[in-house]
Each structure stands twice: as structure tokens, then as C-alpha cells.
Amino acid sequence: MKIKKGKRINIPDLITCIAFFAVLIFMALMTVILPKQDFLEMENSYAEKFPELSAKSVYNRSYMNKMEKYISDHFAGRISWIKGRTILETSLGKNERNGIYILDDRLVEKIPEPDYSSADKAIAAINKFAKEHDVPVFAMIVPTSAEIYADELPENAPNADQKEFINYVYRGLDRSVNTIDVYQTMLSNRDDYIYYRTDHHWTTKGAYLAYAAAGKKMGYDPVPLEMFDIEHAGIDFIGTFYSKALYDGVEKDTLDFYHLPGGYPVTEVDITEHFGEEPEVYGSMYFREYLDVKDKYSAFLGSNVPIVDIRTGCEGGRLLIIKDSYAHCYAPFLTQHYSDITLADMRYINISLDKVIDTSGYDQVLILYNASSFMTDTDIRKLGY
């Protein structure tokens, strides 16, 4: 570029040009130079890999889309940029981010109005299952933190009425299905630490309260709380809500294991990750390797898989749980009352459940979901296959 002599350069113009390009070039260089992470731990997702150039990937545009995702996933200071934005927005009074409400001391999920016609399909499938199987069926739909702390939400914030939803489901179930109402249990213990502040699960304490409340209907005497040794196994746990909101203003969570000295031991945990393969055999329900990574909740029975089978030293009956991940920290309490607990996750089972598990061999079936996942679920209906 020619800078003509005699023509004065305006200093602010020069500053604008230099500053603008300096920021662009600096950030671009940092993005190229800085080491890349394969896994975006804060967001709990895999980062895009550098795309491979081929005629086909260019032609169908996947190369460009992946390149844009790659640049965004590996952009220098990515997490700081996003957190900065969240801080800015919350300080301007916006208490909602990426489907998460930011409350004073916790994050909760923004749950839209449920689709009742979809729930009808799940209800019909459960009814059909109960009718076709000669085994007592129990159902427990657990409210989530968005419902229990609904009064702390921003004023007028849209929030599905989970109480109404749970009642709707319970009313729709046949009388042969025993419904277990834990709504009141959770609500009356809301001042206790029963839900994680940064995650969508209930805490071990929350699960314990539901386990204790269910004892009467399911026919066991719950172990008193004071008998347990509580181990604060996972500290500084930040869960899925945090990953979505990336908001640092709420306290991190603690994940507890409840051990029962002198209780019935777990003898074997069989985990079937893929059908047709032999299950992996473990000796404990707790997968401590997860305590060192972000996804700490998976320390309970590992990540979501189709079938988990827990054998215990107890001589009680056999229980089949059809469940979402709320069951993972709930099942350990049941080891004191059942000899065999099988957890089946319908999201990963695409054929009739009877073809996967000999359902006739069980003494009880428990359907355990949280209200939020039941609302959006499209897999329970496979029970009717």
C-alpha cells in the first residue's frame, strides 16, 4: 500500500486498523497454535476433529460444516469467552441460558409444557406390559428440581407443572399398576440436599428418601438413615446443568456413597453394553474412576447401557427396574432387600423386552423415571412391543 507523502495519516484511523487486525490475527494464531483437546470436558462432549479433505466431503459440504465446528470447538479461550458472555447476561438480568434457569443457589432445567399425547403412548405401553405379565408392576415418577424449587424461578417463567403431569400419568395407569407417590416426600424435604445444584439428577440423599417412602408398597423395611456410613466420594462435582449454562455462580456439588456396615454385600455386577456379547463382570456398583473426571454421576453403575444386573448376598426376591439414570443411585439401597436387581434402559433396547430378559423370572417390576425424562421419552412405548 502506498502512503503518499504530504498526506497526513489520521492517528485514530491507524489505531482502528491496527487494533482490528491485531485482534483477528492474534486470536487466529492462538487458535492454530494452542494444543487441541479431544474432549470438551466442561461441556461433556467430544470436540470436532480436523476434517479430512476429499472431493465427497467438499461436495456434500460436510467438510465446511466440520471445519466451522472445528474452529468453534478449538477457538482460543473458548470456555472463557462463553463464561464471559454468561456473566454479562446474568448481570444484565437475564436468568436463563441455553435451557437452564439460573436461580440464587442452583441451576434448574427449563421444562416446556409436556406433550400429553406422547405420554398417553407410554401409559398405554405400561398398561399393556402389566396386563401381559403376571408380575406386580410398580411405577415411580420422581419430580425434578425445577418442580420442587419452582417458587424460586424468575417471575412468570414458563415451567411445566410436574405435579399435574405425574398425577395424569398415575391416573392413566391401570389399577393393577401400583403407583408410588414420592412427590410429597421430595417437597417436604426441599431444604435438605436432595438434588444436585449443577446436575439434573437427585442426590443419594434424595434417592434414599424415595427408597424409604417406597418400602411400604414394595414390601420391605427400609434401612434407617443413621445406619449408613456416608462417604463424600466425589467432591467439586459439576454436572450437566453447569455444562449447558457454563455459569460459575453456584456452589459445586458433592457426590455421596452410602455404605451399610454389616449389610448384604454385592457379589457381582454384570454390565451388558452390546447385545449378543457376554456381559462384563464387575465386583462393585461404584466405578471410582469416574470420580476423577467431570462426569462423576457415572460412578454409580457406570454410564448408561442397555442392561445392568446386580447380584447380592441377600436372599430376597428378584426385581426388574425399567428406568432412566435416576435409578443408578437408587439401586444400591435395594441391594439390602433383593437377591437380584436388573436395570433395563429402554433407550437402548429396540426389540421386545421379553426377547432380552426372561421377565417371568422376576418377582416385581419397578418403572422408575424422573418426570422430565418421562415427558420427553419416546422409548417406554417399546414396552408394548
Binding site: 484511523d13 483477528l24 464471559g84 458472555r85 436463563e96 424468575p154 417471575e155
Partner: protein
């Protein structure tokens, strides 16, 4: 590629601009005795980068753009060569116009035409373009859409630009462009290729030949670009989220306040999205040494619908005036013909925005309002207080946007009813929440859509020139930082004018 993406902002833009700045307009390569080859270096760079920029989003249909450019270029050269033979010139013009309109007919309107035919005659005729796609897929396995015809990005813009060249050449308003590189660089000029402004060849003819780039212009361009980026990323995207939510609701159930808040959000979203994109284009043009025409001038401050359309998407209005309205006789052939011409122009303006009856009706709605203003209401508007005529125009635009963005006429009607309370309540908790959690963004949008902000800046510039000048780079960096923090995790970054 879109301007509001990290890929463009941090990689494409600095690389291209820095090479561009240090290249001369032309490079002379001596070829032995007395002869030399002149390489139009900057135009060549514009051509290559434009190709890359366009192909990034449209790797297949980029071919169509080049074919159409080649045909228009050849038509221009032939018109020039047979300057005395009016018949040949006319044939060239007809070929160029038919080819451009034909591209639009095939890629933009064929589905719409066949859908309409099929619904009127209750028939099941398949769009021949789809049949061709299937054949191509059978042979080459290209994976072209076999359901609906995919709209090539920016086709409505570049066909109109190319036509402005051949038509003006035919009318002898401009000189021929003899260099293929020069002409192609006009079409592929990346700032305006996908979403305008619709730069007529006449506007940039001189700059294609020779242009100057200096610190002052680059800095001016950066400021304009940043302003556009802020409008798009900070305002349009943020207020657009509200409309996305409201748009998806059941219009028979929403309260009047929700409907109003929703459509107001869209009113601002489309303005800041499109005018922001135009500002970015104008700014990038400045950095490259081009002066593109202004595309928006505070349209929501207009005091009549006629004025609104002189301030909204100005380059499109100009195009239709120059190449449709005036050739049809404009307003010089009596009232009846004037009205006919207005309805044609507005029907076409609507149709240009998209292949659906909603858009046609939206265009005709404006045609009718403008006719009403022309036959007398305009005079009344002038006498009314400014606030009243402005409120009328703004409301007319808001109602227009309902037609524009509710997808079907049935839904538009439902939405209108909801705006007047057919959903039951006046204001429910949804509306209260939308307002209370977004009040700031509404206020900023209102403020930014008026001339108030611009006037304040002018006043500031006049009174405190020194501070103002140093505030510009500070503001640019602020905008860059803020926008980056939004773009890094852009869960919502649509681009409204891609479908046109």
C-alpha cells in the same frame, strides 16, 4: 460462508485483506520487447476469494453462477461488437434476461409453480427439475435433493446484478466490460454476493477499473463492518430467539400481548439482521476500495408506507423501479396504467422474497397501501402530526411481517386474530415473562432503530471530535469481543436472507 462466523471473521477476512492491501491494482509483466502483460491483480484476487467464499456454502451450484456470468459477459461483448445492429443487440439482451429469469424459475420457483398447479387441478405432476436431479443422482450419485429443489444461496441477488449490466448496456447507459476477470470479479465480489446490497454495475463500473485503498477508507470500513456485526450478532440474534419461541406456539392459545411481543421481536430481528448484513457488506466494500450504495436508512422512522420502501432495502426498490416500473411506463401513462404498474411491481417484489403465496400477498399488501397513499391518503398523512403518521407506517410494517413470516395464509390469519385477543387473554404469564426477561433488548432495539442514536453520535462528533475519533477504535474492539463471545457458542445464529 457468512460474515457473522468465526471462520470468516478470524481466518478468511484477515488473510484476504492483508494480501489485498499489499497487492497493486495491476501488475505489469514485461514480455520482451515493448509488450507487456497486465495482470489485474486485485480483481483476480477478488475473483478467486469470491469463488472460495461462495463455494464454501454452495460447492455445487457455484457452477451455475459461473455459467450465468459467462453468458452475461458474452452477451455484453456481442452487444458491443455489433453496436450498429439493433437486432443482434436485442437478441443478446433477451438471451441474458431469459437466462437469468430462467435460473430463478428453475431453482427458486419451480416447486411453487408445480405445487400451485397440482393443488388447483388436483393433479400429481412432479417438478421436472426433481426428475432431472434423480437422473443425475442415478448416474453420478451426487446426492441432489429428490424432494424439493434446493435454492442456491444468493441466486436472487446475483441474477439481478448481472441483469443490471446487460440491460444498462443495451440502454447505452454504461460502457462494456471487456475483461472477463473484471466482469466476473463484479459478480463474485464477496461482500455482496450472497445477500446484497444489489449493486448495479453502474454503481461500481469505475471502481472495477481502478480504486484506491488507504488507511482512512479501511478504518471507515472497519467501523461500518463492526456496526453491522453488532446489529446482527448482538441485536438480531438475541431478539430473534423470542420470535422463534413465539412463532412455534399454537396461535389459537396465545395471549394478545405474547403475539405483539413476538411479532415486534421479528420486526426488529429482520431489520437488524438484514441492515446489519448490508452494513457489513458496505464496510467490507470500503476496505476493498468500493463504494456500495446505501441499503437502509432508518425505515421504521418513515411517515408513510411509500417512504418506508424508499428507506428499506433501497437497492431492491431501485432495481424494480429502474428495470420494471419505468419500462412499463411508470406513472406517466394515466392513472389506470400507473395502478397496474404498481401492482405488478409489488407483486413481483413480494415474489422476489420467496416462492410462496404469503410473499405475493405481502407484496400486494404494500402495493395496495401505496396506491391508497397515492390517490389521496398520502396528502392526509402529511398533515397529520408526525407521531401519528409514523405510528401508522410502523404498524403497517408490523402487520406486513405477520404475512411475511407465518408460513401459510391460514396461520397468518390465526396470528392476526391472536393479536386482537382471540387467544383468550390480553396478557398471560408467558407475555409477562418475555417482557420482564427481555426488556433491555427491546429498549436497545427501539433506540437503535431510530435516528436518535445516529444523531447523538453526530452531535458527539461535532462537539468532541478528538474524543469521538479515539472512541471509534475502542468501540470496534468492544464489538469484536462481545460478538466473538456470542459466536464461539452460537446455538442460535440464523441468517434470514439466505432463502431469498
Amino acid at each position: 460462508m457468512v460474515f457473522s462466523s468465526l471462520t470468516f471473521l478470524y481466518f478468511f477476512l484477515p488473510i484476504v485483506l492483508i494480501i489485498y492491501i499489499f497487492l497493486p491494482n495491476k501488475i505489469n509483466v514485461p514480455l520482451g520487447s515493448e509488450r507487456s502483460l497486465v495482470i489485474p491483480a486485485r480483481n483476480l484476487l477478488i475473483l478467486i476469494t469470491g469463488f472460495f467464499f461462495y463455494a464454501w456454502g454452495e460447492p455445487f451450484y457455484v457452477i451455475i453462477m459461473f455459467i450465468s456470468t459467462l453468458i452475461d459477459y458474452t452477451a455484453g461483448r456481442l452487444m458491443n461488437k455489433y453496436d450498429n445492429d439493433q437486432r443482434i443487440r436485442t437478441v443478446c439482451l433477451i438471451v441474458s434476461v431469459c437466462m437469468n429469469i430462467g435460473l430463478l424459475a428453475v431453482f427458486k420457483y419451480s416447486d411453487f409453480i408445480f405445487d400451485t398447479i397440482n393443488s388447483v387441478f388436483n393433479s400429481h405432476i412432479t417438478n421436472p427439475v426433481i426428475l432431472v436431479n434423480r437422473k443425475i443422482n442415478d448416474i453420478y450419485n451426487f446426492g441432489l435433493s429428490e424432494d424439493r429443489v434446493a435454492l442456491p444461496i444468493g441466486i436472487s441477488f446475483y441474477t439481478f446484478q448481472s441483469m443490471s449490466y446487460t440491460i444498462d448496456l443495451y440502454l447505452r447507459k454504461i460502457k462494456v466490460q471487456k475483461s472477463l476477470i473484471g466482469f466476473t470479479s463484479y459478480v463474485t465480489l464477496f461482500p455482496q454476493i450472497v445477500a446484497g446490497p444489489i449493486v448495479r454495475y453502474e454503481d461500481v463500473a469505475a471502481e472495477i477499473e481502478d480504486r484506491k485503498v488507504n488507511i482512512g477508507k479501511i478504518s471507515e470500513g472497519i467501523a461500518k463492518f463492526s456496526k453491522g456485526l453488532a446489529k446482527k450478532v448482538l441485536l438480531a440474534n438475541n431478539i430473534g430467539i423470542i420470535w422463534t419461541e413465539v412463532k412455534a406456539m399454537d396461535y389459537t392459545q396465545i395471549s394478545a400481548a405474547t403475539a405483539w411481543l413476538g411479532i415486534l421481536a421479528f420486526t426488529f430481528q429482520i431489520y437488524f439482521d438484514f441492515s446489519g448484513y448490508s452494513d457489513m457488506a458496505v464496510g467490507l466494500g470500503k476496505m476493498l476500495g468500493f463504494n456500495f450504495p446505501k441499503n437502509f436508512d432508518h425505515p421504521y422512522m418513515s411517515k408513510s408506507v411509500s417512504e418506508f420502501w424508499r428507506r428499506w432495502h433501497i437497492t431492491l426498490g431501485t432495481w424494480f423501479r429502474e428495470y420494471v416500473y419505468i419500462p412499463l411506463g411508470g406513472n406517466r401513462k394515466g392513472m389506470a396504467k400507473t395502478l397496474r404498474n404498481l401492482l405488478i411491481v409489488w407483486g413481483l417484489t413480494g415474489l422476489w422474497h420467496g416462492a410462496s403465496w404469503n410473499f405475493v400477498i405481502w407484496g400486494l399488501y404494500y402495493g395496495v397501501l401505496i396506491i391508497i397513499e397515492r390517490i389521496g391518503f398520502g396528502k392526509i398523512l402529511e398533515k397529520l402530526p408526525k407521531a401519528v403518521s409514523m405510528a401508522y407506517t410502523f404498524l403497517a410494517a408490523v402487520f406486513g411481517w405477520v404475512l411475511f413470516d407465518t408460513d401459510t395464509i391460514g396461520k397468518a390469519w390465526q396470528f392476526f386474530k391472536a393479536m386482537f385477543g382471540a387467544g383468550g387473554s390480553f396478557a398471560d404469564s408467558t407475555a409477562k415473562y418475555i417482557l420482564s426477561s427481555n426488556v433491555l433488548i427491546y429498549v436497545i432495539c427501539i433506540f437503535a432503530a431510530t435516528t436518535l442514536f445516529g444523531n447523538l453520535m453526530k452531535f458527539f462528533k461535532k462537539k468532541k471530535k478528538h474524543i469521538y475519533e479515539y472512541a471509534v477504535p475502542a468501540a470496534v474492539i468492544c464489538v469484536l469481543f462481545l460478538c466473538t463471545s456470542y459466536l464461539v457458542d452460537a446455538s442460535y445464529n440464523p441468517f434470514l436472507y439466505f432463502r431469498f
